[in-house]
């Protein structure tokens, strides 16, 4: 069915429509680049306004110099955020896969328990879950004579992996249930066991449909790593706080926050674009 997506002007009450098709405008490569550039320019504009403000005073260093000076340290902090997000995504994806299988288990108690877990971790605020893990997990783990230390950042990573696990479980469940039952019938008729069917026939077909939402959650997770600064993990926001305290200049505030916002934007916006393009491509087939 053709949707109204082509001409949004008809739907809006005021006659402020454009002749250009909405969908074409959003997804053509040219406009994407323009958007990206446009956003960057916007952000830089904000920063440069702040710079201009400062150039007039001309103290020891200009704000631009300060930003450049601290960039390496900020980069170190930012890469730590990326490390946390990568690890949390890995743990959450693997755990979520098995939790998702539990959601479609043939045994009712397994289904029920996994449903409770999914509801619990999906509907809890991420910050509360972080606090939960930070406080309740021991800082050391004694096992058969070995002591495994759990530094703060590992705890935070696990805390962030929990909601990812729950959300990915739902993605897995949705994808598996979207595969036509005829595939199951054909596989069952060929005497495959349930485990064989899931791993060799159903799951490979699911990967494509799970990829866009999975990437979306990765972007959300990366942005959520900043929460770790609240529970005492030293990541990029902690670094930014220390820089502000060290420099003690109020003109630095807007530029430096714009700067770190820009970094996250440059990392997460391309992910969003790729996700959208993948979604369209897979929907076509």
């Amino acid at each position: 069915m053709k949707t109204a997506g082509d001409k949004m002007d008809v739907m809006l009450p005021l006659s402020i429509g454009t002749k250009q098709a909405w969908s074409k405008d959003r997804y053509s490569a040219g406009s994407q680049v323009t958007f990206k550039v446009g956003i960057c320019l916007l952000a830089l504009l904000v920063t440069s306004i702040a710079f201009a403000q400062v150039q007039a005073r001309d103290l020891n260093e200009s704000v631009l110099d300060i930003l450049i000076k601290w960039t390496p340290l900020m980069a170190k902090g930012f890469s730590f955020n990326l490390l946390i997000s990568a690890l949390a995504m890995l743990i959450g994806t693997v755990a979520g896969l098995f939790l998702g299988f539990a959601r479609i288990s043939l045994m009712a108690p397994v289904r029920g328990t996994s449903w409770i877990m999914v509801q619990f971790f999906r509907n809890s605020p991420w910050l509360v879950l972080l606090f939960l893990v930070m406080f309740l997990m021991p800082f050391e783990f004694h096992f058969a004579g070995y002591t495994i230390p759990f530094p703060d950042w590992i705890k935070a990573t696990l805390g962030l992996a929990l909601p990812i696990m729950a959300n990915f479980a739902e993605i897995v469940r949705g994808a598996v249930q979207s595969i036509s039952t005829t595939q199951w019938e054909a596989a069952r008729s060929l005497a495959f066991t349930r485990r064989q069917i899931l791993w060799q026939i159903i799951l490979p077909q699911c990967v494509k449909r799970m990829l866009p939402p999975w990437m979306n959650w990765y972007a959300i997770l990366t942005m959520a790593t900043t929460l770790a600064s609240i529970v005492g993990v030293s990541e990029v926001m902690t670094v930014v706080g220390r820089i502000i305290a060290a420099e003690g200049r109020t003109e630095l505030l807007i530029p430096i926050y714009s700067y770190i916002l820009l970094w996250f934007f440059i990392y997460c916006y391309p992910i969003a674009l790729i996700t959208k393009r993948l979604e369209l491509r897979f929907a076509e087939r």
């Binding site: 054909a186 069952r188 060929l190 066991t193 349930r194």
Partner: protein, 268 residues
Amino acid sequence: MIFFEPFLLTGKRSEYVMTTTHSLNPLIQINDVHKAFGSVGVLHGVSMMINAGEAVCIIGPSGSGKSTLLRCINGLTPIDKGEIFVGPHAVHLMPSDKEMIPLRKDVSIVFQQYNLFPHKTTLENIMMAPVHVLGQSKDEVEMRARELLKKVRLTDKEKSYPGELSGGQQQRVAIARALAMQPQVMLFDEVTAALDPETRKEVLLTIRQLVEEGLTSILVTHEMAFAREISDKVYFTEHGLIVEYGSPQQIFDDPQKKRTREFLEQVL
């Protein structure tokens, strides 16, 4: 020899039909099978006996339960009442898929919509089950798979994906996939219904070849001419009951029941 077999035709009408053959060891025995989906009854007491090497066609109007019966034989649809014996397997006693695995190594089914695995090539589709389910060696299975492809005349499509094949080609691959398991019994569920007339011929040719080689087959089909040509026995079902059965000559040339005659008049 002529026998009366009253106990084979159960249901509300206890009438008798003559048959002319009777073996000592039927491969498949279906006794008084009932099946309802919710409140809708589909099978109301069906009984059949099929001997090894026989080709049996089940004909009848839509909704008469033919496909359901087929799926009951390989356990895809559990029955409410009755018994189904396939060789040594007692299908009605198997509670879940796990117990049905030995049964499904002996019974293969070909579906109307082919149901090939879209993410695997033709050759992989055929090879998958024997390797992973039967545990046979890859080389042995590959050789057999290639022979089967030759048999269904699709050797050049070995590396193609199902999405690249026509309906008739996909159906032939589905047949090869079912045969790769070296089953005792083949079930064909209206396998030509989704195909256009030209591609239908290719598939029917393949099936005829298999029947001539002595494969025990049960076909649910609307292809009357084909049914007449290849089957040893024809069953006519309506409203979940067997109305009449016998040799193709008996059913097609000289149907005893009025309903059979009416149905045949409509389709022929």
